[in-house]
């Protein structure tokens, strides 16, 4: 199978590269900061709490490790649930709740560890520094100190990451509009294929005298085709049903030109008609099939167009005979490449477009995208 992958696929490894850089940065900061935190508190425990190093390391080692694991789990949860794609308010709510939950768990762990090691709910350091206060207040104040660390962690992590997210989203948006502009140009140049246009006009001219009704229909179809093509730069997505209206007009015009050399078989599930696709996608596939497959064949052939929805995925197939041994892919690529690039930007990895040239006498273009 020959997969059509736009030049923009190069953006894929690039993105994972920045993701990896982010992961390294995160891991370094996470281990480094909690490590420093651990050493500061353990040293404090030895100096102020007057306990042997063994006990200090055990108490604060357990707490620091727990803190590291809890914050890491928090990061995992935020990533999986896509918190950073959320608007500011729900994001802040989630940040506050997670601060409270993580702090509470960590304070509990600190209390349990102290109980286990010293038989008292506070560390020796806190007990010695706060010796004038009752034990319950000591526990509370130690809890505040630990919580402050977590609050700082969450604030830093969420602040930093949401900034990056917003920046990335803007970048993606900019890329998308750039690609749309490019697609618009390509549409004007290729989809609004001058060869097709002038041949259609020539056909209309031939019909005017003897078959004026047919000529009128052809002019209407041509006008609709042009209007749709020109408008397709605006809307990102259209329903397949709307796109098929245009494709049908286009096919009628091509039938005028190719006469009995073109047969069309349509197999479109009614449920697929409401699925949304990038404008001109189906048109590009059909036009390629005719231009490179059926038109160069002396006796023409049958064009199969099918669309169906399977497990929340729209599957489009356009299949056509083609001249045997013509594996001249690069020239076929122009329209398909732009379509493929647009799909990638709109749907990411969820959409695919490939051209199957395994059969030497056939070409089948397949598109899958989320319905």
């Amino acid at each position: 199978m020959l997969a059509f992958t736009a030049p923009r696929i190069a953006a894929q490894p690039e993105r994972t590269q920045t993701e990896m850089r982010d992961s390294f940065l995160y891991a370094g900061l996470q281990w480094g900061c909690w490590g420093v935190w651990f050493w500061v508190l353990a040293s404090g425990e030895v100096l102020l709490g007057e306990v042997p190093w063994r006990k200090a390391l055990l108490v604060w080692g357990v707490v620091a490790l727990a803190a590291l694991c809890l914050t890491h789990a928090l990061r995992g949860a935020s990533k999986v649930d896509g918190w950073f794609a959320l608007p500011v308010r729900p994001l802040v709510t989630r940040a506050l709740i997670s601060m409270a939950v993580v702090s509470a768990i960590l304070c509990g762990i600190a209390v349990l560890v102290s109980l286990g090691v010293y038989g008292s709910p506070v560390s020796r350091m806190s007990a010695n520094v706060l010796y004038k206060l009752p034990v319950s207040v000591q526990v509370l104040l130690q809890g505040v100190a630990i919580s402050a660390t977590i609050v700082a962690w969450v604030a830093l992590y969420f602040g930093f990451t949401s900034q990056r997210w917003r920046y990335r989203a803007e970048l993606r948006q900019a890329q998308l509009s750039e690609a749309l502009q490019e697609a618009e140009l390509l549409l004007l140049k290729f989809q609004l294929n001058p060869h097709f246009l002038f041949n259609a006009l020539n056909g209309v001219r031939a019909l005017i005298a003897d078959e004026p009704r047919k000529a009128q229909d052809a002019v209407t179809q041509l006008a609709r085709t042009l209007r749709y093509t020109l408008a397709s730069g605006d809307a990102e997505l259209v329903t397949l049903g709307r796109e098929m209206e245009m494709v049908n007009d286009y096919l009628s015009l091509e039938s005028l030109r190719l006469a009995d050399r073109l047969d069309v078989v349509r197999d479109i599930e009614p449920s697929a008609l409401d699925a949304r696709i990038p404008g001109m996608l189906m048109q590009t596939l059909v036009e390629n099939a005719i231009k490179h497959g059926i038109a160069p064949l002396r006796h023409g052939g049958t064009l199969h167009i099918s669309a169906r929805v399977v497990e929340k995925e729209l599957i489009i197939e356009v299949s056509n005979p083609r001249p045997v041994g013509d594996d001249h892919v690069p020239r076929e690529g122009v329209g398909l490449r732009s379509a493929s690039g647009r799909l990638r930007l709109l749907f990411g990895a969820a959409a695919t477009l490939n051209l199957d040239l395994l059969d030497p006498g056939r070409a089948t273009a397949r598109v899958r995208l989320p319905a």
């Binding site: 020539n202 031939a206 030109r257 006469a259 160069p296």
Partner: protein
């Protein structure tokens, strides 16, 4: 003028037929929808003029011309093909853009009539044909044939030797009058023509070409070359009794031992 219409689209043929019906001097003798059909029609019907579409299934109009041994007058028709149109412009070939404008068609036909004026003509008309013969692209009939041949009305008779070739090399294409070619040199399965300043490559083999050439004018000098005898400036005797020919605008050509005797006989030396 007897015309053949070559186009894969029935509607395009119908439209051209209708446009041509306004010209009483043009008689449409046939239609063809692809390269093979067109080649057969041209060989069997010998049209004076062919309206030739560029994009067709199974080969382009250029492919057709490259296969032809005898060239009718050609007017290309195309809807939109920027590369072909560029080639037409560079090479000064006649072409019409579809939808065809009646005025343009009239102008093109007038031009054809001017250059293919009936041959048994006065001094002035033969002067005009030989004048246009020097232009590289155009004269397909009167102009291409030698002055002696122009007394026959139809120079594209099927039995005579080939007078003219269509050659496409890169963006340029030419109708090359063969009598203006000084030497043909084989390059693999192709043949390089030495034609004035140009050296276009022809997609035929030297052996296939030799069969079609006028034996009175062209001589097989060696395994790789055929020379135009009209271009010989001098003949020298080289080492070992080999003959060397100096051509007027070409390189020196050596005559192989096998061919030397025949050459002496031809040139009576």
């Amino acid at each position: 003028m007897r015309a053949l219409i070559v186009d894969d689209e029935p509607l395009a043929r119908r439209e051209l037929r209708r446009l041509l019906s306004g010209f009483s001097r043009v008689e449409i003798i046939g239609e063809a929808s692809d390269v093979d059909e067109a080649r057969q029609s041209i060989e069997s019907l010998s049209p004076d003029i062919v309206f030739l579409d560029v994009q067709m299934p199974g080969g382009t109009g250029f492919d057709l011309l490259a296969q032809l041994d005898r060239m009718p007058r050609i007017i290309f028709t195309t809807a939109y093909d920027q590369y072909a149109v560029k080639a037409f412009d560079v090479s000064a070939l006649d072409y019409l853009l579809k939808p065809i404008e009646p005025d343009r068609l009239a102008a093109a036909l007038k031009k054809v009539e001017a250059t293919t004026a009936p041959a048994p003509a006065s001094e002035s008309s033969s002067a005009s044909t030989s004048a246009s013969a020097s232009s590289s692209a155009l004269p397909l009939q009167g102009g291409a044939s030698s002055p002696s041949a122009s007394t026959t009305p139809n120079a594209t008779r099927a039995d005579g030797p080939m007078e003219q070739l269509f050659v496409r090399d890169g963006p340029r294409c030419w109708f090359v009058p063969l009598r203006e070619v000084s030497v043909f040199t084989a390059e693999g399965n192709y043949v390089r023509l030495q034609w004035g300043k140009d050296k276009p490559l022809l997609g035929r083999s030297l052996i296939a070409l030799e069969e079609k050439l006028d034996a009175k004018r062209f001589f097989r000098a060696n395994r790789r070359q055929i020379v135009n005898l009209d271009f010989i400036e001098k003949v020298e005797l080289g080492l070992g009794g080999r003959l060397h020919i100096q051509l007027r605008d070409g390189p020196e050509v050596e005559i192989s031992r096998r061919q030397a005797r025949q050459f002496r006989a031809r040139m009576s030396i």
